[in-house]
């Protein structure tokens, strides 16, 4: 039971808003000590795991490209492009991206997307542009809401798409686990049984995006009407 102390540290640390890097390091040390690991062994695990997981930070290599393009008006151009599509709404733009992201991931094309590569430079500006086109200037709260939804679409799309692909690492991990326990499974069995949840994920998130459109409509059309009435009187 003492080994769960690290989890307690994480929860308390995150709730009290201490710096997450510090919280994680302290939780790691506490967990190690509670698990009766010697301190030098704990440091070795820290070092090894940090080096082994450097691939998680490779996304920063995309930033010189994105930064340079942003300086030259990438976001503005993305908004202009979406402005020329009259039927575009925030929800529709994001549903289309959700579909592309999930379908591409199901075909192992997980590289087609990502927060640094796609969401920040293209998808979020387009989703915001579509709303600005329809309603004019948006409040900071609306910008925040649209951007959060843009990020969520990338996550939902890739998570529930990738497991449908038979050779995806996650599917092979599951197959490997069952094999070790004496059960032989075909990767295709696992991938196929993932389809109902994958479809539901798309449907549920799309419905929420349609509701987002309705909510924005209600919020801003009321304001537009108010403005019109002010002008009349």
């Amino acid at each position: 039971m003492l080994t769960l102390l690290g989890i307690v540290v994480v929860i308390i640390g995150f709730v009290l808003r201490f710096n997450p890097l510090m919280v994680v390091v302290i939780a790691g040390i506490v967990t190690g000590l509670a698990g009766a690991l010697p301190i030098d062994k704990i440091l070795i695990i820290f070092g090894e795991a940090f080096v082994k997981n450097r691939y998680l930070s490779i996304f920063i290599l995309t930033l010189p490209v994105i930064g340079l393009l942003e300086r030259n008006g990438l976001k503005e151009q993305a908004q202009k492009l979406i402005g020329s599509v009259k039927i575009a709404t925030t929800g529709r733009v994001l549903i289309l991206y959700l579909f592309i992201r999930e379908a591409a991931a199901a075909m192992a094309l997980t590289a087609l997307g990502g927060h640094a590569q796609m969401v920040r430079p293209l998808i979020a500006p387009m989703a915001e542009g579509a709303a600005e086109n329809k309603y004019g200037k948006l409040s900071a709260k609306t910008h925040e809401e649209i951007k959060s939804f843009s990020a969520s679409v990338d996550n939902v799309g890739v998570f529930f798409g990738e497991d449908i692909f038979v050779a995806f690492g996650g599917v092979l991990l599951m197959k490997g686990f069952f094999e070790q326990n004496g059960l032989i499974l075909e990767p295709l069995d696992i991938a196929l049984w993932g389809i109902p949840t994958a479809v539901l994920a798309f449907v549920i998130h799309s419905v929420r995006l349609i509701l987002l459109d309705r909510k924005l409509d209600a919020e801003y059309n009321v304001r537009l009407k108010d403005a019109e009435e002010c002008e009349k009187s």
Binding site: M1, V10, F18, N19, P20, L21, M22, V24, G28, K41, L43, I44, F46, G47, A49, F50, V51, R54, Y55, L56, S57, I58, I60, L61, L63, P64, V65, L68, L69, R71, G73, E76, A78, A111, G114, H115, Q117, R120, K147, S148, A151, S152, D154, N155, F159, F160, G170, M174, K175, F177, N181, D189, I190, L192, W193, G194, T197, A198, L200, R208
Partner: protein
């Protein structure tokens, strides 16, 4: 092989070293030495990570956390251009601006699918075991060269612009890696076994529905703690899924695996521990609330989790 993941790490390391150098020279940052040290240590982990003994790397990691915890990673000045300048440039360059941005995914996919078996003089062109990551690294270089050609800006300018983005992310850029180390320590200390035992001892094992419910919720909860469904899967499945659903109640293992893992993903959508999906994007998109992405995802995740319970209950038996 000709291009291995190690080279991509070197490239990232050199890039971070330049960022550290810029940070050191930025007099507008009151903590410029600490900020530069933070990025400098990060650079060292990329360039010398394989040479430095893990023990010392562990100390380096803790020093980085202490710098961040003491508020030592700060913003500087970035010489930003006006909206007007950007609109003018956008008018001039038009939709050609999209080309370098789209080259990143396109070249990555070409590398992953098309070049994986290409070899020159008997040497594989790209590192096969890390094909996507290596392709991504190559794609970034190709896209950057294209962007430089297109915008007629200098390489220094692109590095300075990327510092604006990196500083906006700040210490959160390192959080995914830091959480991975916590996962490793959880595994070494046997946290998973304890959680699985707790869940296993708390449920009435004869009730089919309760067992499914415990497994699905257990996967989500444990993933929220670990930040990673792959770490939760073997533990929860060994503790609950395999002995109770499959062996005791005769559930279909394919269904249990697929829906179990997806239940874990629902957990990933709801936790700050999955920093690379939830916290880093919030920083990248300049969101005021660092948990905004998680809050947006919670309704979808909970609804889906609810559906998963019934999907597994009806499909597995």
């Amino acid at each position: 092989m000709i291009i291995s993941l190690t080279y991509i790490y070197y490239l990232t390391g050199v890039f971070m070293a330049i960022i550290a150098f810029f940070a050191l020279k930025d007099k507008s940052n009151s903590k410029r030495i600490l900020t530069a040290s933070f990025w400098g240590l990060f650079a060292i982990s990329f360039i010398f990570g394989d040479i430095i003994p893990p023990f010392y790397m562990g100390i380096l990691v803790i020093v980085m956390a202490v710098i961040a915890g003491a508020g030592g990673v700060r913003l500087g000045m970035y010489d930003e251009v006006s909206q007007e300048h950007r609109l003018n440039q956008a008018k001039k360059l038009g939709s050609r601006l999209f080309l370098p941005a789209l080259l990143i995914p396109i070249v990555t996919i070409i590398g992953t699918l098309g070049l994986k078996d290409i070899s020159i003089a008997g040497l594989a062109l790209l590192d096969k075991s890390n094909i996507t990551l290596v392709s991504l690294g190559v794609a970034c270089v190709v896209a950057l060269l294209t962007a430089l050609f297109l915008t007629k800006d200098t390489a220094i300018r692109s590095l300075k612009e990327s510092r604006r983005l990196i500083d906006a992310i700040g210490w959160a850029a390192v959080l995914p890696q830091m959480l991975a180390t916590l996962g490793a320590l959880f595994a070494a200390a046997g946290v998973g076994q304890v959680v699985a035992e707790l869940v296993g001892s708390a449920i009435p094992v004869d009730n089919r529905f309760m067992v499914v419910l415990a497994y699905v919720l257990g996967m989500a909860l444990f993933t929220m703690v670990m930040g990673n469904a792959f770490a939760a899967f073997p533990v929860m499945t060994a503790g609950v899924g395999l002995p109770l659903i499959i062996q005791l109640h005769g559930g279909n293992p394919g269904v249990v695996a697929a829906i179990g893992m997806f239940s874990g993903y629902c957990g990933t959508l709801m936790t700050p521990m999955a920093a690379n999906y939830n916290i880093v994007p919030a920083a990248l998109l300049d969101l005021a609330d660092k948990n905004a992405v998680i809050k947006t995802q919670i309704p979808t995740a909970l609804l889906l989790l609810f559906c998963n319970v019934f999907l597994m209950y009806f499909l597995a038996f």
